[in-house]
Symmetry: C2
Subunit: 324 residues, 2 copies
């Protein structure tokens, strides 16, 4: 920068003023300076700017697994929204390891990031709670954590949504692929009961360590079943082998079994028949998270918190479309 100043015969602060454009400068000088900047392809040093000023224009994003398409999609949105506001993203993959999570929490402080977007390893964010008191704007993504800004959708409500859909298209047996403690299951069961389904009789859970065996049991059951089944899998990725096993066993989708996934990943879009799924409004969530963080940054407030729940959306596709 002083180099530019020297070359154009002005003082270094003047160059600074030209580049930032907030104070008034002689237009001629400004033009000359800009020309010189262009010519030498000068790039201001954000590090120095950060050190002096109060902002780094850096946000940290911590996720349990970047390779998971759901988080990959989320990060894509986050990065895009941040870029619009002139922010860059430092990415930290905790790999579902709370020790790494903790290490990263130190690191992002060292880099003096202006804000943090975190999808904690543990659903209730125990591992990162001690850090909420730090003077950095925080935002917890994908689930509700007590005493922290949280952006999420209710998995319970989403489960209910699926229950209603399957009940509406008309099925004789309901099947959940996943764990009973999953909030999606809780909501699913609740929704079914509300519709008058005898969940003791007509709701089954399939979930085995050995997936091959699980699918065998499932296809066996469905083959024997005289009626139609409605299957809800905990996510698209797990719904995929189910779909293929059924197709291979000659069980028609959706005629003999309707199938619903979760997360609206490209898998659910690409697969044939295309798969009904539940979409979390990632774009809206990401946009909200970034805006809220930016607000906190500019107001220098980070003690307050609030919860923001978004609504899950059922996306009906071929795998559960039609009466039977």
């Amino acid at each position: 920068m002083s180099e530019i100043a020297r070359l154009t015969g002005v003082s270094q602060p003047t160059v600074s003023r030209v580049l930032n454009g907030n104070t008034s400068v002689n237009p001629e000088i400004a033009k000359k300076v800009m020309a010189c900047v262009e010519e030498h392809n000068y790039q201001p040093n954000m590090i120095a700017r950060s050190l002096n000023g109060s902002r780094t224009y850096l946000l940290a994003a911590i996720v349990p697994d970047i390779a998971n398409p759901f988080f990959a999609d989320l990060i894509k949105v986050i990065e895009q929204e941040a870029a619009k506001a002139g922010y860059s993203i430092l990415i930290f993959n905790s790999d579902r390891d709370t020790r790494r999570e903790e290490r990263y929490l130190g690191l992002l402080q060292q880099y003096r990031v202006d804000g943090v977007l975190a999808a904690p390893v543990h659903a209730y964010g125990e591992s990162i709670k001690p850090f909420f008191s730090l003077p950095i704007p925080w935002m917890v993504l994908t689930n509700r954590v007590e005493n922290a800004n949280s952006v999420y959708v209710s998995h319970r409500k989403a489960g209910k949504l699926v229950a209603e859909h399957l009940q509406q298209i008309g099925v004789d047996k309901y099947i959940f692929i996943g764990e009973r403690r999953d909030q999606k299951f809780v909501g699913f069961e609740e929704g079914l009961r509300m519709k008058g389904v005898d969940t003791h009789e007509d709701l089954l859970v399939f979930w085995e360590q050995d997936r091959e065996k699980m699918l065998e049991l499932l296809t066996g059951y469905l083959t024997e079943l005289p009626g139609r089944a409605g299957i809800f899998a905990l996510n698209d990725m797990e719904a995929l082998p189910v779909m293929n096993a059924l197709l291979a066993a000659g069980i028609g989708i959706p005629s003999k079994a309707a199938l619903v996934g979760f997360d609206n990943t490209f898998v659910s879009r690409k697969v044939i028949p295309s798969m009904t799924t539940v979409r979390q409004p990632l774009e809206e969530m990401g946009r909200y998270a970034i805006q809220e963080i930016l607000k906190q940054i500019s107001r220098k407030e980070c003690g307050t918190f609030r919860y923001k729940e978004f609504e899950a959306e059922l996306i009906v596709r071929a795998s559960s479309d039609g009466e039977a």
Copy 2:
């Protein structure tokens, strides 16, 4: 830091020395300082450290699409390897937009990153060529770019690999799903010819804008076909609907049609029957890229370049296993 110095009654540079541990300090003082650092959870300011020193411990990663599982996997590896070496990753998603790519190239210079890992939007990296002359260690990922450090696998060789595999298990017709100009196709054709296959007669390409129509044509063709087909799709994601369409049409996999994908994404692992695919050695590539960048950083050399080709690996799974 001067706060710590004040509290422990030593000078600020001494605290610095304790924290870095490169110069000798009185062990007692060191202990006292460390205790104070722990107590106040002091985190050194990387920004200041960067400004003064010559390193930021920041690497930039530019990819065309984070949401693409291949790049997501790659970034995961990169981040992991970088973390091991004390480096953090600034992530930039160019979204296959050369203008964004260009903007990011400016940004990463502003942040004075120590090195750049880039997967260019265009296969031959035209858009980023002007930047190779910058005094920053560079590494081009996933394809070979002239006059730049490049880490890649030969798609042509990979195509050949698939050709050999399908020829070996014995199929009557070869089908490629994708574009003819794809190097995978070039290698596929080449490999088949080398095995004595009449590629004019027995190699077909299916590729339509309208995927539904494409799949209809494909299943129609296969149903009529008396023999067995060997299908090679440009990637796992595109192989997925093919697999499902075949299953739904009652075309046995691999008995009636063997199917091979590309990239070894979780899709190929999850699907049933599990899908044969080609794996790029992401871990090795990522590790090599990071190590090479670090070498360049420490040697302050960034003019030299070299190409590093890795070998693709065929992963045979159920979708092409067995004689027929």
